[in-house]
């Protein structure tokens, strides 16, 4: 049985004057899933979140959360959603303890209920040693945890996180994702924007927005099977060698190499199926790269988005 739909957008559009920030975006997010929303800066990610949270009124189209219309039933939606904005907006003068209590009271919690929820979240986020510290004095990772705990005080059914890991160190990032998985397993729906591909890979569903339009939406594995990502008679190769940048210049000139991109110590190539590994090795030897480790790979999500972006640019050009 498919899970119930928690968030549904139908041709959601937002125009600011003549500029269309979000252009007819449609997608659905199932209850309990982690929806990763990706796209370059200024592509409209935050605008979509703000419309879903009722902060912005859609110019056209509709969106529903748990069956409530975001434009007309904003007050019914508010208790159901949590929102963690880009800047982890906390009250800097208040301690972590006071911030948590404030957000709890804001959502009508009081007395024993407030204390119980407070204790739960402190335990979950390990904030205990920092409770009496002012928010201004917390490091990025702890501010982020505190902001998340604040947005969870009222046990929302849907949590929107706008770039929750921007400017956070890798350990804190991983720990945040562990928490997100835990919430998801408890049935909470998570809507996360991010720039990190490794985070996108961990989402149950991803949507990619480019130039105000939703280009693609689906499960990461399905997206990697898209024909546009895997053109007929091609294969993807990972080439690990020394002096990757030199190698990149060389292979880009070769017939049969369609795209070449650097990934850390290696490069990812999209080549004609007929291109042989020996030919590649020989060509690399000509630029004095004597040893290269070549193996076939499946496309990554980044490959998917690069292919889709190139395709969009080609279509509009």
């Amino acid at each position: 049985m498919p899970a119930a739909t928690m968030i549904a957008c139908e041709a959601l559009t937002k125009r600011f004057g003549h500029f269309t920030a979000v252009d007819q975006v449609s997608f659905a997010v199932a209850k309990g899933s982690i929806f990763g929303f990706l796209g370059p800066n200024g592509s409209g990610k935050s605008t979509v979140i703000r419309m879903l949270c009722g902060l912005l009124e859609p110019s056209a189209g509709r969106a529903h959360i748990a069956g409530f219309d975001v434009a007309r039933q904003t007050e019914d939606i508010k208790p159901l959603i949590g929102y963690m904005s880009q800047k982890f907006s906390l009250y800097d003068e208040l301690t972590a303890h006071e911030n948590l209590n404030f957000y709890g009271r804001l959502y009508g919690l009081r007395g024993a209920g407030l204390r119980r929820r407070y204790a739960e979240l402190v335990a979950l986020t390990h904030l205990a040693p920092y409770l009496n510290r002012r928010a201004a004095l917390l490091s990025g990772g702890w501010r982020q945890r505190l902001a998340m705990a604040c947005s969870l005080m009222h046990k929302p059914s849907v949590l929107f996180l706008d770039e929750p890991t921007a400017g956070i160190d890798p350990v804190a990032r991983r720990e945040l994702w562990d928490l997100l998985f835990e919430f998801s397993s408890q049935g909470m729906t998570l809507f996360v924007t991010t720039h990190y591909m490794d985070e996108a890979e961990r989402c149950s569903h991803v949507g990619y927005i480019y130039m105000s339009k939703l280009v693609v939406c689906g499960e990461p594995d399905d997206l990697k099977q898209l024909p546009i990502v895997n053109p007929a008679n091609t294969k993807r190769l990972d080439v690990t060698c020394e002096q990757v940048t030199v190698g990149l210049q060389a292979v880009r000139q070769l017939p049969g190499v369609r795209t070449a991109t650097v990934f850390g110590q290696s490069m990812h190539l999209l080549v004609d199926a007929s291109l042989s590994e020996d030919f590649l090795r020989a060509e690399l030897a000509r630029v004095k790269i004597s040893h290269a480790d070549i193996r076939p790979i499946a496309p990554s999500l980044e490959d998917v988005f690069v292919a889709l972006t190139n395709n969009e640019n080609g279509a509009s050009a």
């Binding site: 600011f16 703000r50 949270c53 009722g54 902060l55 912005l56 009124e57 904003t74 007050e75 508010k78 208790p79 959603i81 929102y83 904005s85 880009q86 800047k87 907006s89 906390l90 009250y91 800097d92 003068e93 208040l94 006071e98 404030f102 957000y103 009271r105 804001l106 959502y107 009508g108 604040c150 947005s151």
Partner: protein, 373 residues
């Protein structure tokens, strides 16, 4: 669960904690008004006394020197120098060494004894009209009094044909602090209150915490009241301090009902705090909030009757003054403190302040959009 004021307690508690956590806010609410009160109470005094005077006595007789003494005895003039020529006299005034030049011509005593009109020349620096007016009135009054005494002696009368017996009510000593301090209370309170609320909401907008509040299920009334109430309590405390300073430091009488005084203050402070919130809900950043506040508060300094009487203004400015809350508050302060007026006698001013307060507060609740665009 949808009470009309939901979120009120949460906002109220948070706002109080934030205010007391950051003492600069409190300092800037309390300090400037007290400084203003003290400045206006002590330093700014338009009871002009002992103004610098240079004397050119060309007569050099006992009588003429006696006349100079009579000028000094009025307490208005103080001789700073004696000069020997008309040029020196006028250059002393031009150089700012004296406000007044007193010239007694060589034939003064002779004319006086002969019963011909004896003349004394008084040169007055008109650059400051307050000082000039005082010098003019005192010297004219002196001449008139001395002339009358002479005429009456010659006519052998002991009583004046007509006598005016003025009695200054409510401020018998004509102390200017009695006039200024109630006025400066209005101006000082409005600056502290409007700035406090104008900045409080803008701060949330700039930090991004406003978005968190907007996605929460709190009512606009609860939100605005929660924002306003802490500042209302602080402002009332501040007003009490100002009253104590006015009463015990400057000896300004409080003749009317203290409850009327506090009712007027409450309505005024509420109105000004609402104005601050309204500014705050329009302004996008600190700078805009400060500029809007200055633009809205400046007219009150000129047109509220704080210094210049409203009655003498052109009709257009009188009309502007009726739109300024400080006009009513300052009027009420003078009426209640100095004249002991009652609420019933001034019900109109109370009603106007109440209406302005209710109107502005409702406006900022209604105009406050729970969306960011």
């Amino acid at each position: 669960m949808k009470t009309p004021f939901r979120g009120f307690t949460a906002i109220l508690l948070k706002e109080f904690t934030v205010i007391f956590r950051d003492p600069t806010t409190l300092f800037f609410m309390f300090f400037p008004p007290l400084i203003q009160i003290i400045a206006f109470g002590y330093a700014l005094d338009n009871d002009v006394k002992h103004m610098a005077t240079v004397v050119l006595n060309q007569d050099r007789t006992a009588e003429s020197r006696q006349w100079v003494e009579k000028f000094v005895d009025t307490q208005t003039f103080r001789v700073v120098a004696e000069v020997n020529s008309v040029d020196e006299l006028s250059s002393a005034i031009r150089a700012g060494k004296a406000y007044v030049g007193l010239q007694i011509p060589p034939d003064f005593t002779r004319n006086l004894h002969a019963g011909r009109g004896a003349q004394v020349q008084v040169l007055i620096d008109g650059s400051s009209s307050t000082i000039a007016l005082q010098a003019l009135q005192t010297s004219m009054g002196l001449a008139l009094r001395e002339s009358l005494t002479t005429v009456m002696r010659e006519a052998r009368r002991t009583e004046m044909p007509i006598e005016v017996r003025p009695q200054i009510l409510y401020n018998p000593t004509m102390k200017s602090a009695n006039f200024f301090v109630p006025g400066v209370m209005g101006i000082a309170l409005q600056i502290a209150t409007v700035f406090a609320t104008a900045l409080s909401l803008v701060r949330e907008r700039e930090r991004g915490t406003l978005e968190n509040l907007l996605v929460a299920p709190l009512s606009r009334w609860g939100f605005m009241l929660g924002k306003l109430t802490p500042y209302l309590l602080i402002s009332m405390t501040m007003a009490t301090c100002i009253f104590l300073v006015a009463r015990w430091v400057f000896g300004i009488p409080i003749r009317g009902d203290v409850r009327a005084l506090f009712l007027a203050t409450f309505l005024y402070v509420f109105t000004m705090l609402s104005l601050g919130l309204l500014i705050s809900s329009r302004a996008q950043n600190h700078m805009q909030a400060l500029q809007m506040t200055m633009a809205l508060l400046l007219p009150a300094v000129f047109f509220s009757g704080f210094i210049f009487p409203i009655e003498t203004m052109p009709k257009f400015f009188q009309w502007i003054s009726t739109l300024i809350p400080a006009t009513y508050f300052i009027g009420l302060m003078r009426a209640i403190m100095l004249r002991g007026a009652s609420v019933a006698e001034y019900w109109f001013s109370f009603a106007v302040l109440a209406a302005m307060g209710a109107g502005l507060f409702s406006l900022c609740v209604i105009r406050f959009r729970q969306r960011i665009a």
